[in-house]
Symmetry: C2
């Protein structure tokens, strides 16, 4: 059975290397897989797999021996058109492309079903951490109440440096780039778009309806300062970029991506450091389960892509049971209606007046006192309240400017 890889970048080349490596394994002898094509617009002179490189997608599409295609190009176009064409030709497709699955997963699964092919995407969330199969198969007897996680390794590395080593954001980002953990344009990581795509995929699987990235309020970590780190530490909390989705009693869901304060005591998520990811699933029968590991990098992601290739190859002409409904505009409740505990850091000229106003606007609010606080800086924790109301009340304080607002996450 022949396999083609679309895109010979970091994940694509890792996938090719791993496929070549395991092809001699005893356990796979019954399953003769051959990597036949690598599609890329570039040439790779001197590469050990140079002979497989082609620029011609139609050669792959028209080759009936190619039964499984791995899409590792990234981006929406032409990945979507290529994947759709392959599925329509009855080829199974596996992908690590979260942008593609988050935006087009419903349409592509439909195409797979209509053409008796499989569309698998274990590598799209959490790198090599097994999460898609466990969620859709092992936990299928559960009603899932919540999915939450640290889904982006780059931002977790930066936050670990900022909190553990008291490094400012810019320096920590630079260090992430020097270590190869952040791309030259890190905006999709830093701004939360990458985590947003992943929580869309997890929420879609957990709750059975497609969630689109534009439905999920997404905040990044750019605004976090060393002061926030110090205040969080005083509360014995970590700051983590969390992606969360919860089922609401009315059948809708709530979903968001934002930096949050996570209590160190009693939450394993607070202990997840550096480029690691962790995903929590809360089911009615199983309780909380957490999946942890390196969330990115060529080898871990290739490990997931190759597992999907093997699954397709072993189940050729049989369909895996992945189904969900399409999304709907009102399916995700507005983030303004979310009720949460909040941390706020504000600046003001008249501190006594600001303190008085805060306590009036937010009964039960408690100030966080640290040594060496900047004059005019105030930080406090607000008891559970509606997101929108809290922001309006904060904006209404006279002579007080909100510098940073984060949820305090409870698990």
């Amino acid at each position: 059975m022949d396999v083609a890889i679309l895109g010979y970048g970091v994940v694509g080349s890792g996938t090719a290397r791993l496929l070549e490596k395991i092809s001699g394994d005893a356990a796979l002898r019954a399953l003769p897989l051959r990597l036949k094509y690598i599609l890329d617009i570039r040439d790779f002179p001197g590469d050990p797999l140079e002979r497989l490189v082609t620029h011609n997608f139609n050669a792959i599409l028209g080759d009936p021996d190619v039964r499984v295609v791995a899409e590792t190009m990234g981006g929406l176009h032409p990945a979507f058109e290529y994947v759709l064409a392959c599925l329509r030709a009855g080829k199974s497709v596996v992908t690590s492309n979260k942008e593609l699955v988050a935006a087009k997963g419903y349409a592509l699964l439909q195409a797979a079903r209509e053409n008796n092919a499989n569309f698998l995407f274990e590598g799209s969330v959490g790198g090599g951490i097994p999460i898609i199969r466990p969620l859709s198969q092992c936990l299928c007897a559960n009603e899932i109440a919540e999915v939450a996680g640290i889904l982006n390794g780059t931002t977790n590395f930066i936050l670990t440096r900022m909190l553990g080593d008291a490094m400012p954001f810019g320096r920590a980002l630079q260090m992430a780039q020097e270590n190869g953990y952040a791309e030259r344009d890190p905006s999709a990581d830093i701004g939360g778009a990458d985590a947003c795509r992943k929580i869309c995929i997890l929420a879609t699987l957990a709750f059975g309806r497609h969630v689109y990235p534009e439905q999920v309020r997404t905040e990044g970590i750019e605004g976090i300062t060393p002061e926030d780190a110090a205040y969080a530490d005083r509360l014995d909390c970590s700051i983590k970029l969390l992606a969360r989705a919860k089922r609401l009693p009315d059948g809708r869901i709530t979903a968001c991506v934002a930096p949050m304060l996570v209590p160190r005591e009693g939450s394993l998520l607070a202990c997840v450091s550096d480029v690691n990811n962790a995903i929590l699933i809360r089911g009615d029968a199983v309780g909380d389960v957490i999946f942890y590991g390196r969330g990115a990098g060529p080898e871990p992601t290739a490990s997931a892509v190759v597992a999907d290739i093997l699954d397709c190859a072993r189940h050729i002409d049989r369909r895996r049971h992945f189904e969900w409904e399409d999304g709907a505009p009102d399916y995700v409740a507005p983030a303004e209606d979310d009720i949460a505990k909040f941390y706020a850091r504000v600046s003001c000229d008249d501190e006594p007046s600001a303190r008085k106003q805060v306590l009036q606007a937010f009964p039960g609010a408690s100030f966080i006192e640290i040594d060496g606080a900047r004059p005019g800086d105030l930080a406090f924790v607000i008891l559970p309240t509606k997101d929108g109301q809290m922001r309006a009340a904060l904006a209404g304080l006279a002579g007080v400017k909100a510098e940073m607002v984060m949820r305090v996450a409870g698990f």
Copy 2:
């Protein structure tokens, strides 16, 4: 399609309840599953499912409509005979019975293959934590170097109380029993036999060859005292009952179950408290991944058993790819040859002489000093050495009695 449950105890009744609960789910409408029999030697007057209870195994075996059987009786006999008979009749079987899988897994998988049936056992390790499927499917492109974990919730609860609340062993055990976490006869938990069965199953799956419980050196937690807890704390370590199996370069493996000191810094396993379980898998491509959750209880285990039932029902007449070779007497290397760092606590009459002898026998050993140490008690850490040599040298010290020896686990 009809389902039978063998054994209406804690897990069996949880499985029945969960099956009844989800049978109305929209997602399962395409898969009409009906619970038809519950086998037990007891009667359950007044139970909502009383009408399904039978004492007659042959009624189930002879009913061609029963295609999937869930074995939740526990124990080896008659579970083994019943499961084998069902498989030979072409029925798929799922089980949560770790004793059965660890002792008879190879024979039962063979019977499943010969009769085109499935034999699944997700619930046998880690309660509801997805681990069997992720290990065998999602990580199948990896060469696994090591499997390790906290596989027994009862002992982890006891150790959490002993270390966190300075409770002696007996009191912590009693508390576990009062909370329903420990059985009246807790010996299989406390002595490590339960964790041993589970590491056998994991090692078998990870390394491809059956590992039998009698091949794995197994130590329990009975000997741990509040002094050990204090010395461990001084080293910034937790004490965990760990089960570990590693691949050796010569094709054999090493495997053991024993309480170990786990450094709190940099290891998520040290943070796993109370009745929770965590399983670490180290793969060459994926790196370290950890699976975490409640390791026991009727609902979590039923969640895994029902997921296996659904998997069987959806793939009736198609076989899942679970294969491994039978074990061999010399496949597991003797624990005496394991090289590790060790913690030892000894008692002696002449402390200066004991200290001198320790340093002579174990060059580089470092003593652990705590406030309020018992007179004549000494604790120290021994640099990496062979298990057998270390024990022989320790036994050879004059006037020194080894009270407790534990490995210091590095991950």
